[in-house]
């Protein structure tokens, strides 16, 4: 096994795509760095924290990106966002087989304020445009920084989200919640709590993530191939029917979680017999257990449609 979590963005690309097939757009030698960070006298990166380009995955032309979590928490600035949007638009122009996004981001890069906010919204719109063009979009969340803020929303604009237990997906991150609402509301230093509320297993049980794998690059690659193959057979665009089903699923989830502050209690309500065991299970054992109890699947039309 080789950990996906431990890899940099630049190491993840060759681990996920067919060997030697990836061609990077705007590589570091072009030195397209953030003008905002330079103005603030802060360090820049020659790739602005994201690798974008086109490669082969299982022999098919797949466009892709990998965000670097170690550079400013993978946060999206103007250049970073523009690279993602440009890659997504080119995927449409060139009729890509699929788009694979290796996400690791705290969301908007606050240093870049409105430019970063606009960049994230443009990424979301471009992802939906790619889907509308009939091209499946698959998001992978398995980095140490998780996927939060605007990029958390963007991840859910994909057809399929693949996570590991170690991956985290949410809107507000733990420190943000604690800062805004107090430590009694959420203790960001309670790592077990953080993973119970944002980690891959919770997201899988709630239906926000469609495929869960062990933290292994080969497992992530196999899941990406599986997801793209499954999506290739059906419609991938956003539909009113799909949105209404999603809304119904969210309303049901809100109802089911009424008055509950502990994720394990939500798992219990889903029918998981011994919720305290869930965090200790290896991926395979967890998937066997979860199969009978996941919210959203298989009864939820939106998610079966997305699969």
């Amino acid at each position: 096994m080789s950990s996906y979590l431990e890899l940099t963005a630049r190491q993840r690309i060759p681990a996920m795509f067919d060997a030697g097939s990836f061609e990077e757009f705007l590589p570091p030698s072009k030195r397209i760095a953030s003008p905002h960070l330079a103005q603030l006298d802060a360090p820049v990166s020659y790739d602005d924290g994201v690798v974008v380009g086109r490669g082969l995955l299982g022999g098919h032309i797949v466009f892709g990106a990998a965000q670097e979590g170690a550079f400013m928490g993978g946060a999206v600035g103007e250049v970073h966002g523009a690279k993602l949007v440009g890659m997504l638009r080119r995927a449409i122009d060139e009729g890509a087989h699929a788009v694979l996004l290796l996400l690791e981001s705290g969301g908007v890069r606050l240093h870049e304020a409105n430019a970063g906010l606009i960049a994230v919204s443009e990424v979301m719109r471009a992802m939906l445009d790619v889907r509308a063009a009939g091209i499946p979009v698959v998001a992978v969340v398995g980095g140490a920084n998780g996927c939060f803020g605007g990029m958390g929303i963007a991840a859910r604009c994909a057809n399929t989200v693949i996570m590991s237990e170690e991956g985290r997906l949410a809107m507000s991150g733990p420190e943000v919640i604690e800062t805004a609402n107090g430590v009694e509301e959420f203790d960001s230093r309670d790592r077990a709590l953080v993973w119970r509320t944002t980690g891959g297993k919770h997201r899988y049980l709630l239906g926000d993530c469609q495929l869960l794998v062990a933290d292994d690059t080969a497992a992530f690659r196999a899941a990406a191939l599986e997801a793209i193959a499954a999506l290739g057979a059906g419609a991938v665009g956003l539909t009113l029917e799909g949105l209404l089903a999603e809304q119904a699923m969210l309303a049901r989830r809100l109802h089911d979680a009424e008055g509950v502050s502990e994720p394990m209690e939500i798992w219990r309500r889903l029918g998981v017999p011994d919720p305290a065991r869930v965090p200790m299970l290896e991926a395979d054992a967890f998937l066997t257990l979860a199969a009978q109890h996941r919210a959203g699947l298989p009864s939820d039309a939106a998610h079966t449609g997305e699969q």
Binding site: T8, A9, R10, P27, P28, S29, R31, A33, D41, A42, P43, V44, S45, Y46, D47, E68, A70, F71
Partner: protein, 108 residues
């Protein structure tokens, strides 16, 4: 931020191949972009660092680097976020090895 520039002449090992980048501009880390460039046999290194006032230490690290590799026609560009000298040396070697393969000559 501080920008430092180093230039070493009389290199012996020209670079070939596509530009490579190693490392990440994370806390205590740096990225090193290495490219072949027609510099009349010289090796030029540009450093953009968040740690101001360490020019003499950078100079010593770079002289050691040049003594190890004696690169010719090489441009190296560094974005640094407070890496220690040891980390800088390792990243520089990693960058060169990404183009030339592991060291065969010189003493580390």
């Amino acid at each position: 931020m501080e920008t430092l520039h180093f230039k070493f002449g009389a290199g012996e090992r020209p670079l070939t191949g596509a530009a490579q980048m190693v490392g990440v501009v994370g806390s205590g880390n740096l990225e090193v972009l290495i490219e072949a460039a027609p510099l009349g046999g010289a090796c030029e290194i540009d450093v953009h660092t968040a740690a101001v006032g360490f020019g003499a230490i950078w100079g010593a690290v770079m002289e050691d680097f040049h003594a190890r590799w004696r690169l010719a026609d090489a441009r190296i560009s560094i974005n640094d976020n407070g890496a220690t000298p040891a980390v800088v040396s390792l990243r520089l070697d990693q960058a060169v090895e990404s183009l030339l393969g592991p060291a065969t000559g010189g003493t580390p």
